[in-house]
Structures are given as structure tokens and as C-alpha cells.
């Protein structure tokens, strides 16, 4: 999918983004040369000057339709980063391009317009308005745009149905469970039909069972809607479960960006390695990662699998009697082949990692 994803157009790109906190942070940020050169050196220089760099030289692109997860422990700067992308927090330096338009240069009016049409955001503690019913909460973004009552009501009902909350339209947030409240949050952020969807630790305030359920719900929605998603989490399992690509942050710095399989296979450093040591390769490695080119051999007997099938899936089918796999695309054309030994090699690597 790397190939497929990178062939898609770029939705959002973030170039050399800094956020610095401290006395006169903005003036310091503009000072010549402070932010140039090696990023580790610059952040050292900033700390020496009494500043706190919260986001350090963030550089990445997000492709249309991709789920891009930013993961880090608390205090790593991931929430600050996502707020800089939507300019809820004013970045100190850098560029954020949405469909090629520089967000940091946008006027307040333009920014409001973009937020009204192009972005939606879901918050950790839901951010629901306590005085409005579910229906009015979901309709709120349309109300501030001054859309007619009928239109916003019907659109809100649609969204509420989408997240499975029919029948609770007239309840107030305080009467809902955490999971239900976050469904309202999801519905509201989707009400204007934004192409870019920010989710800031949306499921972190929920208990584990509900969290799992909401992740499934989220994946179901994404299969239907195909948004471009920036998803913040501190939960590694959640990140590897949902992500197309993951950016791992530590102390304000993005230390690795890659597909889950790449990160587990080749962690950038000791820190990432320790972080992902509990993630089994069989879960994150996909059929397309280990397939061999088809060189005219006979594959008729092999089972057909999707390129995104995990090694774990393949292992189960091997146990069920399959002997090899044919990786096929949507149209049924063969992309490559996977034999049993390739699958078992991954299992063996997992065993070795665990030692």
C-alpha cells in the first residue's frame, strides 16, 4: 500500500514546524539561525535560552484517504502538534499546507471558512456543549454557518444515524455514557462533511471494552467515508491497529515515521524498539510485505488472499491446510506469491525477538 498511498495526492503537508513555549517565545523563534541547522542542536540551544520546544521541526505529509497516527507518551507534544495543524495553537515557525494552501498565512476569516468546510475534529473529553441536546450539538457547526433549521436538523439526523445513536436525539450530553458522548462528538465533527478529520485521543477517556468497540466503529466509518485522518493516541495497540502510517514522537520530536510493519521490523532506535517489542510481527506484517514476484510458476492450487491480509491470517489458513498463497488485487490479477516458509520465517523472527 506504500506504493498505492504515495501515488495518491498529498492532502496535508507539514514542513519544519516548530512550537516553542517560554518568555517571548515568538521573538526567540524569529531570531536568526536559532531554528536552522541540526534539529537536536537547535532544540538544545532553545532549552539553554530558557525556552521549551514543544514541537521540534516536524516534517511529514499525509495522503488523501490515509489514516496517519501520531503516537507518543503524554508530554511528547502530539496534542500540541495536532493543534498547530488546525491552528488552534499558533505555531512558532514552519509551514502547514492543506491542499497546497498555506494555513499559517490564512487570514482569520479564511481560517474560519476552512474550519467550517474542510476540517472536523474530535476531542478527548468530547467537548460537547452541555446546554444543547444531542441533535443541536451535532447541528451546531451548521448553525454557526447560518444554515436553515430544516437543513441542519435533517443533516444532523443523518449523522446521528451514521454513528448509531438514533432515538437519543433529544437527550442531553450529561445523560449519555462516555461512549455515547464520543459518538455525538464523531457525528458533530462529520456534520459539515470535512475531507480532513482530526481525532485527538478520541477513545482515551473510555474504558477498554468500549474503546475496542469504538475503534471498530471508527474503522467501519472510515471504510464508508474514506476521509484523510490524523489520529492522536498514546495507546500503542490502538495505533498499530488503526494506522496506515505511524509517526512516533518523543519530547517534541518525531523520531520515526513509517508503516506499522516497517516500524516493528526496523525500529529507528532503542527507544522505539522498546516501545514496539510487544507488538508481534505476525500482526503487522502483511501478505504484500513478504510476497515474491510471480515467475510464471503454477499458482492454481494456492489460495487467493488480499495484499492487506496479515501474516497471522495466513498462518491460520496454513493450519487449515493451505500450502501457499496467491496475492491478488481487487480485480483478481495476481500481484505475487507467498509460500509457507515465508510465513513461518516471520513466526520464527517473532520468537527470536521475544528472547
Amino acid at each position: 500500500m506504500t506504493e498505492a498511498a504515495s501515488s495518491r495526492p498529498i492532502k496535508l503537508s507539514c514542513e519544519g514546524l516548530w512550537k516553542i513555549y517560554g518568555p517571548h517565545a515568538d521573538r526567540v523563534a524569529r531570531r536568526d539561525g536559532l531554528l536552522s541547522g541540526n534539529r537536536t542542536d537547535s532544540s538544545e540551544r532553545l532549552r539553554a535560552a530558557g525556552q521549551i520546544p514543544a514541537v521540534i521541526d516536524a516534517d511529514f505529509v499525509v495522503h488523501t484517504g490515509e489514516i496517519f497516527v501520531i503516537m507518543g507518551l503524554s508530554g511528547s507534544g502530539k496534542s500540541t502538534l495536532v493543534r498547530c495543524l488546525s491552528r488552534l495553537i499558533e505555531p512558532s515557525a514552519g509551514k502547514v499546507l492543506l491542499d497546497g494552501e498555506d494555513l499559517l498565512a490564512a487570514s482569520p476569516q479564511r481560517l474560519i471558512e476552512l474550519r467550517r468546510r474542510a476540517m472536523g475534529m474530535v476531542f478527548q473529553h468530547f467537548g460537547l456543549l452541555p446546554h444543547l441536546s444531542v441533535l443541536d450539538n451535532v447541528a451546531f457547526p451548521l448553525r454557526v454557518q447560518g444554515r436553515p433549521v430544516e437543513e441542519r436538523r435533517s443533516r444532523a439526523r443523518e449523522m446521528i444515524a451514521l454513528v448509531g445513536l438514533e432515538g437519543r436525539e433529544h437527550a442531553f450530553p450529561s445523560q449519555l455514557s462516555g461512549g455515547q458522548q464520543q459518538r455525538v462528538g464523531l457525528a458533530r465533527s462529520l456534520a459539515v462533511g470535512p475531507a480532513l478529520w482530526f481525532l485527538d485521543e478520541p477513545f482515551s477517556a473510555l474504558d477498554p471494552l468500549i474503546r475496542r468497540q469504538m475503534q471498530d466503529e471508527f474503522l467501519r466509518l472510515q471504510r464508508m467515508l474514506g476521509k484523510t485522518i490524523i489520529f492522536i493516541t498514546h495507546d500503542m495497540q490502538e495505533a498499530f491497529r488503526l494506522a496506515d502510517r505511524i509517526a512516533i514522537m518523543r519530547q517534541g520530536e518525531i523520531i520515526q515515521i513509517g508503516r506499522p510493519a516497517d516500524i516493528v521490523r526496523e525500529p529507528a532506535d532503542e527507544y522505539v524498539a522498546r516501545f514496539v517489542e510487544d507488538i508481534p510481527l505476525v500482526r503487522v506484517m502483511l501478505a504484500k510485505d513478504i510476497m515474491q514476484p510471480v515467475n510464471g510458476g503454477d499458482l492454481g492450487a494456492a489460495d487467493a488472499v488480499e495484499p492487506t491480509a496479515t501474516v497471522e491470517d495466513l498462518l491460520a489458513r496454513l493450519a487449515g491446510g493451505a500450502s501457499g498463497f496467491r496475492v491478488v488485487d481487487d480485480t483478481g490479477g495476481a500481484l505475487g506469491a507467498v509460500d509457507a516458509s515465508a510465513v513461518l520465517a516471520i513466526v520464527d523472527r517473532d520468537r527470536q525477538r521475544r528472547r
Partner: protein
């Protein structure tokens, strides 16, 4: 190893504390020894008084002459809506008014509140205070919207503009600690006598709680909600009116409740200068005539009205039984009922039925004279024990505190002469208590005991002021750091050079005695309530009721039983300030962390050990906040209590009010405010440090 180091550093810190305090004690003793040689020490000489008050007076007189026409014009303008609202309230026939208030109470807090409100109005009608109550109500109805609007605007300003915030907070501190009487004086000068001054005074006095609650509410809007508003694409104005204000609404409604109560309290007090046909005036004039039956009747009107207003505004704020509001009474039907009732009043007037209604004359059904006689008989029946009690308190507490044992101990009061033997016994007693305290609680209580012993022996009013100054400043420094110490020093010097040191001392011992007694009595009640659900359930509504009363009301029972005098003032103050110690002690003890209590129990503490070694130390910061509240309340009550005979700062304010003397009024009012702020900063500083220590 580290524990040992911590222990050692702790000990060295104790020593520095003692190292500071011992020289202070020496200085105090030296001052006491020298006080006969240098009389300027015990009595601040009149020649050293700076003519600040006369200067202010002269300045304000000139200024007033200059701006008076504008303000008189404003008063004239405000007189119109005031008379308008008053005549509307008088115009509504009483049965319709009952229905109106009943409907509002029903909407606010359900059936129970509606019955209570109806009962209150019926009582007012029967007691014959309908006209007066409606006039008072009109002032409140007019003052509250003005102060809510101003308070909201200022709160928003403080929230939005960080630079304005500091200034606004200082102004709020000053406004809330400055006794109400003190700013009646400039208003009196500017606006003249009359009910409009009461209106303006209450509108101003009711601003601070609204500002504070607006600020608090806006600040407490969760960042997730604010960000979700922004991400929904709100314009700045939409963000404010559609996201932030509705989210802060519960707190804003609490602000309206507090503003209403403050306005009501001042409307009552302002009757002193704006005496006309209102309920405060009824209480005041009946008290002046010593017609206690009438003052009880009218005082009860104030008390009941206060409770009704409090419960109704709280009900609209969604607190206190809002769930019991009947479902059928939607907003739409509510307004329908109101409109129908107003139409009905018009109909009653057109048909002339309104004038035929019984009780419309406003004379009531209760024979006030009989009531007066009954109260007098009641007081006379208990005259002897009351007199004994009064004398005992006077001889054994008030006099020693004021003029010291050297002045108070005489055969006619204590039954003994102040012979060297008696002095020796006293010294030994104090030393023994100090020693005992020192052995079980450290040197601090022992030191406090010695200072208290000295104060009690020599009396506050002639205690050398340099010694007291040193004690206060060092206390402020040790508790809250150099900034507060400087503030305390400057405040005390300010009071000194104004020549108000004597009244200041009177205030100190009046309030000090009231606060100590309340802390003792209230603390015990609070402790009891913390350990017994039943007591807690009984005490809570009593506390709620006491807290909603306007301060004025507390004078009535005190005056009735003890006549004019300082004891009466102390009792009135105590009635008003008993609530905070009860509340905070109960709250503090109840909210000690469960794991700490369990750990204490696990270690084998007896219940008493658990109380003194686990619960009380952990509850201390909360208790100190309660002490802070107690002192603030006592200082605000001290001015009201001046009406029943004191010689303190409050009396100065009261005198100034009588003479319309702006200089004396403002300086003594400011002195009270400074004392209040000083006590507040010292206690908060102490609690802040203590808190840190408890958390670590």
C-alpha cells in the same frame, strides 16, 4: 540517610523561627517595661496624627460641590424607574401577587418552594408590612439587573484583557472588604439623602460577586469545549455567545443569586440614610424605639424574604431541588400564566374589586403593642441570669482584653485585689500552660500562649503599639513572606498616622473575641457534625438560613436580650460568623483522604489519636480557610454592630455616616478593609505553605 538529613534541616528551620521570635519577645517586654517612661508608646500622641482625614474631607467637599449637580441629576433620573417599579408592585392586588410569586417559585424550585413563598407573603400581609416589603422588593428588582449587567461586563473584561484583570481584582478585594457603610458616605454626599442612594449603593455593592462568578465561569469552560467551538467554525462573537457563555451559565446564575442577596442586604442597611417606607426602616425605627415586638415581626419579614429570594434564584441556577419542578410548567405556559395574572390585576382595578379586597389597607392583623409587651415580659423574666452572664463576660473577658488585668482586676469585678501574689499566680499559670503546650506541640503554641498572657495582662488598648506592630509584621513575614510583611507594616502605619489606633484595637479585640469563641463553638459543632449524619442533617439547613440573612437581622435578638453594649455587639457578630467554622471544620474533617484514615487505624490509633494526629492536621488548611472566612465576616459585621454601641473603627464609620464626614468615613472604612486584607493574606500565606508541606 535522607530521612535523617530531612529531620536535621527541619530542626535547623525551627531554630531560625525561634531565633526570629525571641528578639521580638524581648522587644515586646522592653516596650512594656518602658511604657511608663515613654507614654507615647501606649498612647499614640495626638500631635503625631497626620491630617489625612480632614484633607480628604476638604477635598471631597470641594469636589462634591463641583460634581454634585450631575449626580443629583442622575439620582433624579433613577428616581423615575424606582418609583415606577414601586408603584407597579403596589398596584398589583395582593392575591394576584401571591399567585405571581407562587408561579415563579413553582417554576424555580417546585411545589415545596411555592408553598414556602406563599406562606412568606401571607405572613407579610398579616403582619402588616406589605407596602414596605413591596418597596424594598422594588429596589432589589431594579438594583440586581444593573449590577448583573455591570458585573458581567467587568467579568468579561477581566477575562479577556489580562492587563485589566489585576486592577479589577484589587478593586474587588477592596470593595468586598470595605464595609458597606463606608461607601454609603460618598454616595450620600453625591446623591443626597433618600431611597435612590440605597438603590445605587446596593447596585454597586452587588457587582463584585457577579464579576467573580463571571470570571470563574468563563475560566472554567473546558478547553475541549472552546476548541470544539473554534473547530466548528465559530466567529469570535458566536464563539463567545453560543459556546462560552452558555457553558458558563450555571456559574453565572450562581453569580446572580449572590448579587441578589448582596443587593437585598444593602437595601436593608441603606434605610439608615434613605429612611422611607421600606422594611429596613421599619426594623431600624422599631429598634430605636426599643419596640422589640415590632422589630421581631419586621426582622422576620426580612429573614423570610431573604430565604425566598435565595431559594428562587438558586432554583433558576439549577441548584437546590430543581428536579422537583413540575413537568407541565414549561417556559411557555409559565409566561402565559404571568401574562394572564397581569391582565387579571388590570381587570380587578377596572372593576374596582381591587380596592374592596380585605387587608389592602396594609394594617395587618397582629397587634404590635401586645407583641411589644410580650417580648418585654419575656426579657424581664430572664433579666437576672442574663445580667449575671453579661457581667461575667464583661469582667472576665472584655475588660481584661480592653484595659488588661491591671485595670480590670478589682474587688468589685473579680472579688480580689491585684496583689503581687495574684500576679505571681497568674505568671506561674501562664508559664505552666506554655510549658505544657511546648512539650507536646512545639515552641509555637507555647510562644503564642506567652504573648496571649501578656496581652491579657496589660490589655490591648494600652499595649505599646511598637510592640504590637513588631508582632504583626513578624507574624506576616513568617507566615506569608516579605511582601505581605511590608503590606502589614504599611497598613498598620497608615492606621497609626490617621490616629485610629485606639479604635483599631477595639475592633481587634471585639472581632478577635468573637472569632475565637466562634472557632471554639463552631469548631466543636463542626467536629460533631463531621462524625454524625444526624447532627450534620440538622445543622445544614440552620447554616443555610443563617447565611442568607442580611446582617442587620442579627442585631435584633442580641439587642433584645442584652441592651446596648459591647457584649451585644459581640453576640451579634457571633451569630453572623458562626457558620464558616462549622462548615469548614465539617468539610475539612469529612474530606480527609480515606487511605490516610485507614493507615492511621491500621497503626492502632485510638479514636482520639486518630482525630488529633491524623484528621485535624490533614484538615488544617481547610480549617484555616474557614478561619479566614470567619475573620472577613466578623470585620464586615463589626460596622453593623456599631449600631448597638461599640467604640471601634465601625463606630467611627457609623459616626462619620451620621455627620456625612467623608474623610473620617473613608479612612476608617479603609482601615477595616486593610485589616481584613492583612488577615486574609497572612492566613492564605500560611495555608499555602502548609498545603505544600502536607502534599509532600
Amino acid at each position: 540517610m535522607t530521612a535523617l538529613a530531612g529531620d536535621l534541616s527541619g530542626r535547623s528551620r525551627l531554630d531560625t523561627g525561634l531565633g526570629v521570635w525571641l528578639p521580638v519577645l524581648l522587644f515586646v517586654v522592653a516596650c512594656l517595661a518602658l511604657r511608663n517612661a515613654a507614654p507615647w508608646m501606649s498612647l499614640y500622641p495626638q500631635e503625631w496624627v497626620l491630617p489625612i482625614a480632614p484633607a480628604i474631607d476638604a477635598f471631597s467637599t470641594t469636589l462634591t460641590e463641583f460634581v454634585k449637580p450631575a449626580f443629583r441629576g442622575m439620582a433624579w433620573l433613577l428616581g423615575w424607574p424606582m418609583r415606577g417599579v414601586q408603584s407597579i408592585l403596589q398596584w398589583i392586588p395582593w392575591p394576584v401577587m401571591l399567585a405571581l410569586v407562587g408561579a415563579i417559585a413553582l417554576r424555580a424550585g417546585g411545589r415545596a418552594l411555592a408553598w414556602f413563598a406563599l406562606g412568606t407573603l401571607l405572613y407579610i400581609l398579616i403582619a402588616g408590612y406589605w407596602r414596605q416589603s413591596m418597596n424594598t422588593l422594588a429596589l432589589v428588582l431594579l438594583a440586581v439587573p444593573m449590577s448583573v449587567a455591570a458585573g458581567f461586563a467587568l467579568g468579561v473584561l477581566a477575562h479577556r484583557v489580562p492587563r485589566a484583570r489585576g486592577a479589577i481584582e484589587v478593586a474587588l478585594d477592596l470593595m468586598q472588604t470595605m464595609p458597606a457603610f463606608a461607601y454609603l458616605i460618598p454616595l450620600l454626599l453625591l446623591f443626597g439623602f433618600g431611597p435612590v442612594v440605597g438603590l445605587i449603593a446596593s447596585a454597586i455593592y452587588a457587582i463584585p460577586p457577579m464579576v467573580r462568578n463571571t470570571l470563574l465561569g468563563l475560566e472554567r469552560v473546558p478547553s475541549d469545549i472552546k476548541e470544539s467551538g473554534l473547530m466548528s467554525g465559530c466567529m469570535p462573537r458566536q464563539q463567545f455567545w453560543m459556546v462560552e457563555v452558555p457553558s458558563a451559565m450555571p456559574q453565572l446564575l450562581v453569580g446572580i443569586n449572590q448579587s441578589t442577596m448582596a443587593a437585598f442586604s444593602i437595601v436593608i442597611i441603606a434605610s439608615i440614610i434613605g429612611g422611607f417606607e421600606d422594611i429596613g426602616w421599619e426594623v431600624l425605627s422599631s429598634m430605636r424605639k426599643a419596640a422589640f415586638g415590632q422589630s421581631l415581626l419586621s426582622g422576620l419579614v426580612i429573614a423570610l424574604l431573604a430565604m425566598v429570594m435565595d431559594r428562587i434564584t438558586l432554583g433558576f441556577a439549577g441548584r437546590g431541588g430543581a428536579a422537583s419542578r413540575p413537568a407541565w410548567l414549561t417556559w411557555r405556559r409559565f409566561w402565559g400564566i404571568i401574562a394572564a395574572l397581569i391582565t387579571l390585576s388590570a381587570l380587578l382595578h377596572v372593576t374596582g374589586i381591587a380596592d374592596q379586597l380585605p387587608l389592602t389597607s396594609g394594617r395587618g392583623l397582629i397587634d404590635a403593642e401586645a407583641m411589644n409587651k410580650w417580648v418585654l415580659a419575656l426579657v424581664a423574666a430572664y433579666a437576672d441570669p442574663l445580667e449575671t452572664f453579661k457581667n461575667n463576660v464583661l469582667y472576665f473577658f472584655i475588660l481584661p482584653l480592653r484595659i488588661g488585668m491591671i485595670g480590670a482586676v478589682a474587688p468589685i469585678s473579680w472579688g480580689i485585689e491585684l496583689t503581687p501574689t495574684v500576679i505571681a499566680i497568674y505568671v506561674v499559670l501562664v508559664a505552666l500552660v506554655a510549658l505544657a503546650l511546648g512539650r507536646s506541640f512545639g515552641w509555637r503554641p507555647a510562644f503564642a500562649m506567652i504573648v496571649a498572657g501578656l496581652l491579657f495582662f496589660f490589655g490591648l488598648s494600652s499595649f505599646p503599639w511598637p510592640a504590637l506592630l513588631a508582632l504583626v509584621v513578624v507574624l506576616a513575614w513568617r507566615c506569608a513572606g516579605p511582601g505581605v510583611a511590608t503590606f502589614a507594616l504599611l497598613s498598620c502605619l497608615f492606621i497609626l498616622v490617621l490616629g485610629l489606633w485606639q479604635p483599631f484595637m477595639q475592633t481587634t479585640y471585639l472581632c478577635g473575641l468573637a472569632v475565637l469563641l466562634c472557632l471554639l463553638i463552631g469548631g466543636l459543632i463542626g467536629l460533631w457534625a463531621a462524625h454524625s449524619e444526624t447532627v450534620s442533617k440538622i445543622v445544614r439547613p440552620i447554616n443555610d438560613t443563617l447565611q442568607t440573612m442580611p446582617q442587620f437581622v442579627f442585631l435584633i435578638p442580641a439587642l433584645m436580650f442584652f441592651k446596648v453594649g459591647e457584649l451585644t455587639a459581640i453576640i451579634a457578630i457571633m451569630l453572623y460568623v458562626i457558620v464558616p467554622p462549622i462548615r469548614y471544620v465539617e468539610h475539612g474533617i469529612r474530606h480527609v483522604r480515606v487511605d490516610c484514615i485507614e493507615a492511621g487505624r491500621q497503626c492502632g490509633c485510638t479514636p482520639l489519636q486518630l482525630l488529633f494526629q491524623v484528621k485535624l492536621p490533614l484538615a488544617m488548611p481547610v480549617v484555616m480557610l474557614g478561619l479566614n472566612q470567619t475573620i472577613m465576616a466578623a470585620l464586615s459585621m463589626v460596622v453593623i454592630a456599631a449600631m448597638v454601641g461599640t467604640k471601634d473603627l465601625g463606630q467611627q464609620v457609623y459616626i462619620a455616616l451620621g455627620k456625612a464626614n467623608a474623610g473620617l468615613g473613608l479612612t476608617s472604612g479603609l482601615s477595616i478593609a486593610l485589616v481584613a486584607m492583612m488577615a486574609d493574606r497572612i492566613i492564605r500565606g500560611w495555608a499555602a505553605r502548609r498545603h505544600v508541606r502536607v502534599d509532600i
